[in-house]
Subunit: 202 residues, 2 copies
DNA sequence: GGAAGCTATGAATGATGGTTCACTTCTTCC
DNA sequence: GGAAGAAGTGAACCATCATTCATAGCTTCC
């Protein structure tokens, strides 16, 4: 054999793949899954359509990878806040704020992750993603209940409501685009979240 | 002219159209928008694919009609409960129960109306539909606030959270399919809704 | 009965977009 | 430098549907 992948070459391929995924993510955030054709994505990454298949066996596989990376990052960020220091109710409030702020500041991506129509493979990933969010919120709610700061409740439902509420606001911003400024919205959302969890009124 | 539609003929055509819409609704509830091809829908209605175009100018128009009829009915039912007699908090609780029960008992249709991937035209209808739901809930919340039964709050956000929460539970039932029995779930959802709106703990 | 006009049919058409593949270009290694 | 083999290319291929249309079958009305 007269060819073996040299470390530099491996790195180059890896970064090419990374670049493809990164650009594909941008395209998806901008135009949604349905408009993100292989051609569009390949163009954005500066490669030929056929070359996509050097990195992924199918468009669906690429889409799943795009979803996983973006979603994984979001979950990680949220997890850090929710698992951080402080009493559970505070963490819950901050978690909601972080989740909502990130979603509203990068609406395109959030929409793609949470709501935009997508092929079945991505839909399945999305379910898993929502479950992770839910599990994170539910955990903190349970801690709050255990600590006596929150009333007894079905933590899973509360958690589902929190993600559902934020998603809902995201998909259709109140009173049209730019109807309310971000900080006010976040304050209202936080208040809602605390009420949902049953935190004593402050 | 040697032809004029006789009343019987008009009726026949109208019922044919109704039947088409009804069958299409069933198909959509069963397999989702993406799988509901013109052929599949026409077969279900017992007509040829081309005949669909006697009644609708395009598939999108049929889809919108299917959505409108089903969604309109749901909004009407919910509206009756929310506008009915009783104090606002009670109506809110019953509204959530009705919404959730109907959704969970006809999951396929609810999923199609609230969540399933669909073509843009249906997506636009869906936004309008969610707004109507929101508006209905928000109205009752405002009444509750005005009556002093609920604390001051952003009623739109509370309303969005309620629809979001139910949608979320619907899309991914807690603990897999049939994880909890319907009545218990409804009770938990009602409790959540009242907390969200800030009703005093009972 | 039969002409005129409507509805129903389903195979053909056309557009879209994922995937393949023969070919070119680039890397490696002697 | 050059042979061997990998990656990159993009035009052609193919599958999937929505949509059309020539044709057949019904209704109406005289």
């Amino acid at each position: 054999m007269a060819y073996r992948k040299t470390p530099a070459e491996i790195r180059r391929l890896s970064t090419a793949k990374d670049l493809l995924v990164a650009r594909a993510t941008e395209v998806v955030a901008e135009v949604g899954w349905s408009q993100a054709s292989v051609t569009a994505v390949a163009d954005a990454a500066g490669i030929a359509a056929g070359s996509v298949y050097q990195h992924f066996p199918s468009k669906a596989a690429l889409a799943v990878e795009v979803f996983r990376r973006a979603a994984g990052h979001e979950v990680e960020v949220l997890g850090e806040v929710l698992h951080g220091p402080g009493d559970p109710v505070d963490r819950l409030a901050r978690g909601v704020q972080v989740f909502a702020r990130r979603a509203l500041e990068n609406r395109g991506l959030a929409h793609a992750l949470l709501a935009a129509p997508a092929e079945p493979a991505v839909g399945a990933e999305r379910l898993a993603h929502r479950r992770r969010y839910r599990a994170l919120f539910a955990e903190v709610v349970r801690e709050g209940v255990a600590a006596g700061a929150l009333p007894a409740q079905n933590a899973e439902i509360t958690a589902a409501a929190l993600t559902g509420a934020i998603g809902e606001i995201l998909v259709d911003p109140l009173g049209g685009p730019g109807g309310e400024d971000l900080d006010a919205l976040l304050a209202d959302l936080t208040a809602l979240a605390l009420r949902c969890a049953g935190a004593p009124r402050s």
